[in-house]
């Protein structure tokens, strides 16, 4: 092994990593998408299912309806593609904090949505929040669905 080769091999990993790191940030800045973590929610329920509360707040602030259902891709919250309201998506992702956040941000599930959310998830974190915000007429009977 020559002197130059050894010296190059020892310094190369750092040079590659530091350059790659900077390039990754530059790509993210230019394209708005990170090369590694590039999952982008297509709508509010997907943002909820991705556990991205920042995106949830930004979407609601920009005028999206916190009660409106939208298509959530297969594998995001459920195994199959489904039309879910944000509250239902939060329940499907077993995210009690997200259910609470949506309620804080003005979501008001009717009895049908509440019941679907209740039955989608048996997570106690989700059900505790839902229990505290039960609309009139909502039941816990999942067989009625």
């Amino acid at each position: 092994m020559t002197r130059e080769r050894i010296v190059t091999l020892v310094s190369l990993p750092s040079i590659l990593v530091f350059t790659g790191w900077t390039a990754m940030l530059a790509i993210a800045a230019v394209t708005g998408r990170h090369p590694i973590w590039s999952l982008e929610p297509r709508n509010l329920p997907e943002a909820v299912a991705f556990r991205d509360p920042g995106a949830v707040v930004r979407r609601i602030d920009s005028g999206e309806d916190p009660n409106r259902a939208a298509e959530v891709r297969a594998g995001v919250a459920l195994d199959e593609t489904a039309s879910l309201t944000p509250i239902e998506a939060a329940a499907a992702a077993r995210q009690g904090e997200m259910v609470q956040l949506l309620l804080d941000l003005g979501a008001s599930p009717d009895a049908t949505v509440w019941q679907r959310a209740w039955c989608i998830s048996d997570a106690s974190a989700v059900r505790d929040v839902l229990e505290a915000h039960r609309p009139p007429g909502a039941t816990e009977d999942c067989a009625v669905q």
């Binding site: 050894i6 010296v7 973590w37």
Partner: protein, 502 residues
């Protein structure tokens, strides 16, 4: 096209990595936990001086400059640019620290450059470095202490003079009034002087020592500030985190056992990357049957690097021992020996300062000096392996020849040793890249905290009634939430979680 000098190339590489980290820091909201309270206190304080004097007399700490700095930056934000000021300060400090680190290496040859590239990966890859970037309350004071220590080292390497001595005393006072770890500035200056870097003269060191005694008097006699107690915070112990009541139950009668564990664990965390914040994560992962690369890589790279530093140190000691006493007195230590000696002193002092509880953040200064020692050791290794004519500062041709003779039986062949160096460089670079993952994860955590905060505070009755405080909180929240961040929370892809620890 002319090639850049090794020194310029080293600075270029340091600039590249520090800019990458700075951009990652700027792409992160101001922290909420343990930070918003400090910012609200700064808002309430009428002046920087009031912040400074108001923090005297607290029970276990004497950190007036820490509070004053938060107030200075708060005022600099002029009521609207809090993210820019606090995160910007963090980013600038980080870049300055990395450049000071690089300056201290005194790169002059191509071998120095390769060792510097390695050292930068060690600096940024060691888990203790995360303490300087991961959190900020809202200033990262561990990074400030590291910055002050690196200034002290650079001053010690200088030609000296009265202004150097004055600057050394000033940064010592600033450091020690910021955090207790600021005492390490004195340790760096003293160790550098003992090792032969005497830019900070005996006179300068004497002034720093007087300041040190003054600090100890003010803290322990005049203000009667105590030391942290077991009841103050949780701490890692063996394979779990113990909360204050449990610490009190186990060690209330014999705190020295716990303090001894903390000192040993802190030193080991730098040398072997285990335990981390007092917890043996590898053992825990093994017990839980979850041994992943993120657990194996740190301990493997640290073990080999520490062995390399030990080899370089022992080789140096044997060289001196083999020289006549007269010759040894006449010839100063070379840079490698100095880096290793100063690292040993800083490691010991830093570990002792961590006696009350173990936290990787506290050991961040020792971690940076470990990277300096690694620089010296890898440079020695490269000189031996590559059979390079020694040109690095302080290395004499006859020394390298003797060093080779001494080291051959230890290494059992130069080609395998070269391969070890290359694999080690790859390992540390992978660890270093984990900083990006850590910062991206941390960024979204901070954002989640801010998003959930108003609802939580209102439900808990913590929401401020004062309109000025409410306005400030909403402004900080708006700054934190409006920036889009990559979502690392869904573990897609999975490989970063397997490779790096958050």
């Amino acid at each position: 096209m002319p090639h850049p000098s090794p020194r310029a190339a080293a600075y270029g590489l340091a600039f590249l990595v520090s800019i990458a980290m700075a951009c990652d820091l700027l792409w992160m909201p101001v922290q909420l936990a343990d930070s918003v309270g400090e910012i609200l206190d700064a808002q309430r304080s009428p002046s920087v001086w009031a912040s400074f004097t108001g923090s005297f007399g607290t029970e276990a700490y004497l950190r007036p400059l820490r509070i004053a700095q938060i107030k200075v930056l708060f005022d600099a934000a002029q009521g609207q640019h809090y993210w820019l000021v606090y995160r910007g300060f963090h980013a600038v400090l980080l870049v300055a620290a990395v450049l000071l680190f690089t300056r201290a290496l005194r790169v002059s040859t191509i071998v120095d450059f390769a060792a510097a590239a390695f050292a930068l990966a060690v600096l940024t890859g060691l888990q203790t470095f995360r303490g300087t970037i991961q959190e900020a309350f809202p200033i990262n004071h561990f990074l400030e202490i590291l910055f002050f220590c690196l200034i002290a080292l650079n001053l010690a390497q200088s030609r000296g003079g009265i202004w150097i001595d004055a600057a050394a005393a000033l940064i010592f006072v600033m450091a020690v009034l910021t955090l207790e770890s600021g005492l390490l500035v004195w340790v760096v200056a003293a160790a550098a002087w003992a090792a032969g870097w005497r830019g900070i003269s005996a006179r300068g060191l004497a002034v720093m020592t007087v300041c040190l005694l003054g600090y100890l008097y003010v803290r322990f006699v005049y203000l009667s500030s105590g030391v942290p107690t077991l009841a103050e915070r949780s701490s890692g112990y063996l394979v779990s985190i113990l909360d204050p009541p449990e610490l009190q139950r186990r060690f209330g009668e014999q705190p020295l056992v716990f303090y001894g564990y903390n000192v040993a664990a802190s030193a080991m965390s730098v040398l072997f990357s285990e335990p981390q914040s007092g917890v043996f994560v590898t053992v825990r992962a093994w017990l839980d049957d979850r041994v992943m690369p993120r657990v194996v890589l740190p301990i493997a790279t640290s073990l080999v690097t520490t062995a390399l530093i030990a080899w370089a140190g022992i080789s140096r000691a044997r060289l001196r021992a083999s020289a006549s006493a007269r010759q040894a007195r006449r010839e100063p230590f070379d840079d490698t020996a100095r880096f290793i000696l100063i690292f040993a002193a800083v490691l010991a002092a830093n570990a002792v300062l961590s006696f009350a509880y173990t936290k990787d953040d506290i050991m961040s200064t020792a971690g940076a000096f470990y990277a300096l020692a690694a620089f010296g050791a890898v440079r020695e290794g490269l000189l031996v392996v590559a059979e390079v004519r020694p040109q690095a500062k302080g290395i004499r041709p006859h020394d390298t020849g003797r060093l080779k003779a001494l080291s051959r039986p230890v290494m059992g062949g130069l080609i395998p040793f070269a391969l070890v160096l290359v694999l080690l460089a790859i390992g540390w670079s992978v660890r270093s890249a984990g900083i990006h993952f850590v910062l991206r994860s941390q960024a979204i955590k901070h954002q989640v905290d801010w998003v959930e905060m108003p609802g939580r505070w209102r439900r808990n009755g913590q929401w401020p009634s004062d309109p000025a405080r409410e306005r400030l909180i909403l402004l900080l929240r708006d700054e934190a939430v409006r920036v889009a961040l990559p979502n690392t929370r869904v573990d897609r892809p999975e490989w970063p979680v397997r490779l790096w620890m958050e």
